[in-house]
């Protein structure tokens, strides 16, 4: 039964989402208002006195104002596949459907008519490499320079409270140097940008509107109707890869979701790092050290109740305690020179992880307690009879014996933690994080940064997006990926547990 449910779930989500990346045929229709062209994206069968309706993805949002249009089946006539129609994926305004009429360099036409499409395809790789160079400079050098300048600004503020002329001079010199370097970098960037804008493409829609666009803003140009299945498959794979590995564009409705995957995985791992020691220590105390009394009983009741508290309550607690109280105090003490800009006093990955750790700690406590109980008594006795202290026995015999059970608890905790969204929205998740919590800028791990999360991404794309029709498949794909991430994390833990068990020669649990 549950197998059936899982399979249905995955198949349903997969079917809804995975088709999204397959290049669809471009169909041209005649209507009373003139010709239209697009991909057929949905059909509504006729019912009662409503005739059958077609949904057409006409794209060209910059020209038409919307990506999708509904037509009654009887008002569109003469469907035909236009062989030379192209789907152009662009960095902005979504896709374009129409024809490529010409390629220009510095305002001069260098290819037109039938030669225009090959001309674009020939020049695209160069444009892509230019774009990634620009991107690398923006992320790398400019980012580093900005960080250094920010550092200087903070040093200045510190100097105000304790003036020191020599230091001030040194700062001035440093700032001058940095600004000069900044100037150099931005000149180089300008040059690259100009270079990327030299070649432009003239696009024409089915109703005759023309648009000139620089080749640097194009991602792919696909003459869909004349492509073979194999080349469609190639496009499919490359789109899939883009989805998994790239940053989002167009308020998350296009591009990839890599930051969200990364944020989810990192948050879950940080949560595990916190929840396992806390849960194990608590369980050890409860099971091995505490004498049975009202305190222990109260603790157990508390643990059980903690597991039943709605997760949004944890979110509120995380916001109030971790973010405002703890984070605020950290800012007061260590980052007072940055105030009023908060450093830790705002939602961030560390507070989100801690909140989730709190949420999942009962699971770990309960399964650790059971695992401790499952370690055979005679092994403890053997160890004690050898002259081991209680602590040595726990550390060397009981805990290793209980490790598989503890991992079971961790697996459950991870599964729950990865799926929670509500508490995260209060403690550190954002729609679009400018930078990831782990990057190449010193000190590499930025616990104070906000992050993106797959679960929140689903909510955001599906319900908060300005272009929800276009984002619908993204929702399913993101859900599929969230599922995949949870399954992968679980597999990692299960594999670890299997190895531990094998090493112990097949104990129970």
């Amino acid at each position: 039964m549950s197998v059936l449910m899982i399979v249905t779930l995955v198949v349903f989500i997969g079917a809804k989402g995975l088709g999204y990346f397959w290049p669809q045929a471009i169909v041209q229709f005649e209507t009373a208002q003139g010709p239209v062209m697009g991909e057929i994206s949905d059909r509504e069968p006729a019912h009662e006195n409503e005739p059958e309706r077609l949904q057409l993805r006409v794209a060209n949002r910059d020209l038409y104002g919307q990506d999708f249009r509904w037509f009654q089946a009887d008002e569109v006539k003469n469907p035909k596949l236009v062989a030379d129609a192209v789907l152009v994926e662009r960095l902005e305004y979504g896709a374009f459907i129409g024809w490529i009429r010409a390629v220009q360099e510095d305002g001069k036409v260098i290819a037109e008519g039938p030669g225009a499409l090959p001309g674009v395809e020939q020049r695209l790789p160069k444009a892509h490499s230019l774009r990634s160079r620009i991107h690398a400079i923006e992320k790398g050098e400019v980012g580093d320079l900005n960080a250094s300048l920010e550092g200087i600004r903070l040093d200045r503020r510190r100097l105000k409270s304790a003036p020191d002329e020599a230091k001030g001079k040194a700062l001035d010199a440093k700032e001058l140097d940095l600004k000069a370097r900044y100037q150099q970098v931005s000149e180089r960037l300008d040059e690259l940008r100009k270079e990327s804008q030299r070649v432009t493409v003239i696009l024409e829609t089915v109703d005759g509107q023309r648009k000139e666009q620089s080749i640097g803003s194009l991602i792919r140009v696909l003459p869909v109707n004349s492509m073979s299945t194999l080349s469609k498959l190639k496009v499919y794979m490359s789109r899939l890869w883009e989805f998994v590995a790239e940053d989002p564009r167009e308020s998350n409705t296009e591009g990839g979701i890599f930051p969200a995957i990364f944020g989810t995985v990192m948050m879950v791992l940080m949560m595990s790092l916190v929840v396992v020691p806390c849960g194990v220590v608590a369980a050890l105390y409860l099971r091995e050290y505490a004498k049975d009394g009202w305190l222990v009983r109260a603790t157990r009741v508390a643990v059980n109740n903690l597991a039943g508290v709605p997760s949004i309550v944890f979110g509120v607690f995380g916001l109030g305690f971790f973010v405002y109280t703890l984070g605020g105090s950290i800012d007061q003490i260590f980052y007072s020179d940055r105030l009023p800009t908060p450093t830790y006093g705002t939602g961030s990955i560390i507070w989100a992880s801690l909140t989730l750790a709190l949420l999942t700690v009962p699971v770990v406590i309960v399964s650790t307690e059971e695992a401790l109980a499952s370690v055979p008594r005679n092994q403890r006795e053997a160890s004690l009879a050898m002259g081991a202290t209680k602590w040595q026995t726990l550390w060397k015999i009981v805990l290793p014996g209980a490790a598989p059970g503890i991992l079971t608890g961790l697996i459950l905790a991870m599964a729950r933690g990865a799926g929670e969204v509500a508490p995260l929205m209060l403690t550190g998740v954002v729609k679009l994080a400018p930078s990831m919590p782990l990057d190449g800028t010193f000190p590499f791990l930025h616990l104070d940064r906000k992050f993106m999360h797959l679960g929140f991404h689903i909510y955001d794309v599906g319900f908060q997006s300005p272009n929800s029709e276009a984002a619908k498949p993204m929702v399913f794909m993101t859900a599929l990926l969230l599922l995949a991430v949870v399954v992968l994390l679980n597999f990692a833990a299960i594999n670890l547990r299997r190895r531990l068990r094998a090493r112990m020669g097949g104990s129970t649990f």
Partner: protein, 282 residues
């Protein structure tokens, strides 16, 4: 546990003069150095008294076996000797147990140090879920030995001592749980030997073993006597007769009779003992 005793408590046992005893005569026994002395030991589980005024002397380098019906307190006594009963809630103990000159129940005594001097082998073999090597080395490791050479030597010496070396020397890194039941029990003995205890306590070490494995362990006990003092609890009277020099008979929490094994089995002084060893009850 049935501890209500309808009969009068017998007088403390005095070793009776042996009739024919080539190796052990009474005078010799009296002069023997004692490894372990139990004096007036009473033990309660909560409100129930489980041991009544036990007096027992175990001479050095001998095997003392404790026999008696189930629940008579022989295992309880054994576990009192290395203070394993401390781990059970509600146990109260009066009396003395002297290891050499040290009273085990002196509040100043270091239990950890004491248990190092008293090895224990349990009824059911209980190797750790580690490699054979690590099982034997465990005792040394917890006492802070890190030198690999010392560890290697001790592991080999202990396994040789437990008669297991030839069988496992090529697979020391394998899991101990892959060994047969008899091998596991000998591994547990090796593990106990590794910390060089003075006394080895064995709690029905062969009760879960087949006759061949039992035979090997019994031979081993005979060998170990040269270097260690052994107290063994057994249900099997033939086994007690085969391996031990002295035998004590427990009944309802009391040590009814203790003496040279041969004599106790052939010529018991107490009626109860005779009834038990002739199979009239128990």
């Amino acid at each position: 546990m049935e501890i209500e005793d309808p009969r009068p408590i017998p007088e403390p046992v005095v070793l009776p003069p042996p009739k024919t005893e080539p190796a052990w005569d009474r005078a010799a026994v009296a002069e023997m150095e004692l490894a372990l002395r139990v004096r007036k030991l009473d033990l309660w589980y909560g409100a129930k008294q489980a041991l009544f005024g036990i007096d027992l002397d175990v001479p050095k380098n001998t095997v003392m076996s404790l026999i008696g019906p189930s629940g008579c307190g022989k295992s309880t006594l054994l576990r009192s000797l290395n203070r394993m009963n401390d781990l059970i809630d509600g146990v109260r103990i009066q009396g003395q147990v002297l290891l050499g000159d040290q009273d085990l129940y002196d509040p100043k005594v270091d239990v950890i140090e004491l248990r190092k001097r008293m090895g224990m082998v349990f009824q059911k073999s209980n190797p750790f879920p580690k490699s054979i090597y690590e099982n034997v080395a465990y005792g040394l490791r917890i006492h802070g030995v890190k030198d690999t050479r010392v560890l290697d030597e001790t592991v080999e010496r202990s396994l040789v001592g437990a008669g297991l070396w030839d069988e496992v020397k090529d697979r020391l890194k394998d899991s101990a749980l892959g060994l047969s039941g008899g091998q596991q029990q000998r591994l547990c003995i090796a593990r106990a030997l590794a910390v060089k205890p003075e006394v080895i306590l064995m709690d029905e070490p062969c009760s879960a073993l087949d006759p061949i494995a039992t035979g090997r362990v019994e031979e081993l006990i005979f060998e170990l006597k040269k270097d260690f003092t052994i107290v063994i609890v057994t249900h099997n009277m033939q086994q007690a007769a085969r391996v031990s020099d002295f035998t004590g008979f427990f009944w309802l929490g009391k040590l009814i009779e203790v003496g040279l094994t041969k004599q106790l089995f052939t010529n018991p002084t107490q009626r109860t003992t005779e009834d038990y060893i002739t199979g009239r009850f128990g």
